[in-house]
Homo-oligomer: 215 residues x 2
């Protein structure tokens, strides 16, 4: 177990997959070409009284603000085992993740964590407390993970999952985790659990750097 | 001091101003009528494989996702006094607030808190730790407050502020605070400070209800 765990972050980064993923994320960020309010073309400029460039409508002047998105999830236990989902969708199809996803308008962060676990893992969670806040500035995301529990061992495979499992600690597939934020969150969670005391964690993730490899 | 503090939330809600503010926030949310990618009209419908209605382009099919925004700020102390700014902009012009604002793309949450203090209060903060996370689902916002310190008592009035002051605790203008999240955060902060131990706080704010008043 220790071997697997220590090896995980290196394995994930050495493939360069993290860097490729960042590129995919950037491409997926749609450029704003037309105004949502009147349909005219926009220019990318610093509006009066502002200090950052925004997409501003050439006709009606509407400013299209773009802000980071919150991804909310949960580390959920049942009798000491951890709930993970194997992703059925890109990015990182086939890799294991904590149930998590983009927060929707009209819900609280805790409600978002519950909903994602229901949708991806068919699990009804008891949400205990916020656990980790991870800023990923280069992809304009903030990941927030709660810690919680399954009230019963009932779960099922949601539309966005290939498999859903409760993993005993020695079985956690460290080398097959989907995202660095998931690895980081699980590492901190298990460290806290060993110490018998959970605190709130904050971290920042910079772009993944592929390692120089011989040959 | 106790009198002022206890009276604050009631005074703020009894005016119904909170409810009016919610209405203003909703109006300011621009309806998406045209596609940002191709300029064609959009329809509000549930895309295939989704479970919530989105603005979907009638021509190119682009889905316009809308997600909650993060407002990030800081409770900053200097020699036991708290840094507050009197707002020069709507909503709540003339009321006192913790330095805070919308997080921008490309920055971490801690960087956002620092930047807001610099812009609104001309203050360089030492950011210590995340302190409070407040979901306000009905206006699609999440407020995150850090706790921190001014390295020196140097501050100035930024463009979005009418005044900036360090307030000793008995002088905090509870009845003139700008937003319920600010009041809630300051109350929790001072309660933790009295106990000599800071924890991480989570809360949800529902729409403000005007009190029934005689006459």
């Amino acid at each position: 177990m220790q071997r697997k765990k220590a090896a995980a972050p290196v394995a994930a980064d050495s493939t360069g997959f993290g860097a490729k993923l960042d590129a995919i994320h950037s491409i997926l960020d749609i450029v704003i070409s037309y105004c949502v309010r009147c349909g005219a073309g926009v220019s990318f400029l610093v509006p009066a009284g502002d200090n950052l460039p925004r997409h501003v409508c050439n006709a009606c002047g509407h400013v299209h603000y773009e802000n980071p998105r919150l991804v909310v999830g949960c580390v959920a236990e049942y009798e000491g085992r951890i709930l993970l989902c194997r992703r059925a969708i890109e990015p990182r199809r086939g890799f294991w993740t904590l149930p998590a996803g983009f927060m929707e308008n009209g819900e609280s962060t805790a409600a978002a964590a519950s909903r994602e676990a229901r949708e991806e893992a068919g699990a009804d969670l008891i949400i205990d407390a916020p656990f980790a806040l991870i800023s990923i500035a280069h992809i304009n995301q903030v990941h927030l993970f709660y810690r919680g529990r399954l009230a019963t061992p009932k779960y099922s495979v949601g539309e966005e999952s290939l498999e859903v499992e409760l993993f005993a600690l020695p079985e956690i597939p460290w080398a097959e985790l989907s995202f660095r934020s998931v690895t980081l969150c699980l590492e901190r969670y298990l460290a806290d659990r060993r110490q018998g005391r959970y605190t709130f964690h904050e971290a920042e993730l910079a772009p993944a750097q592929p390692l120089n490899r011989p040959g």
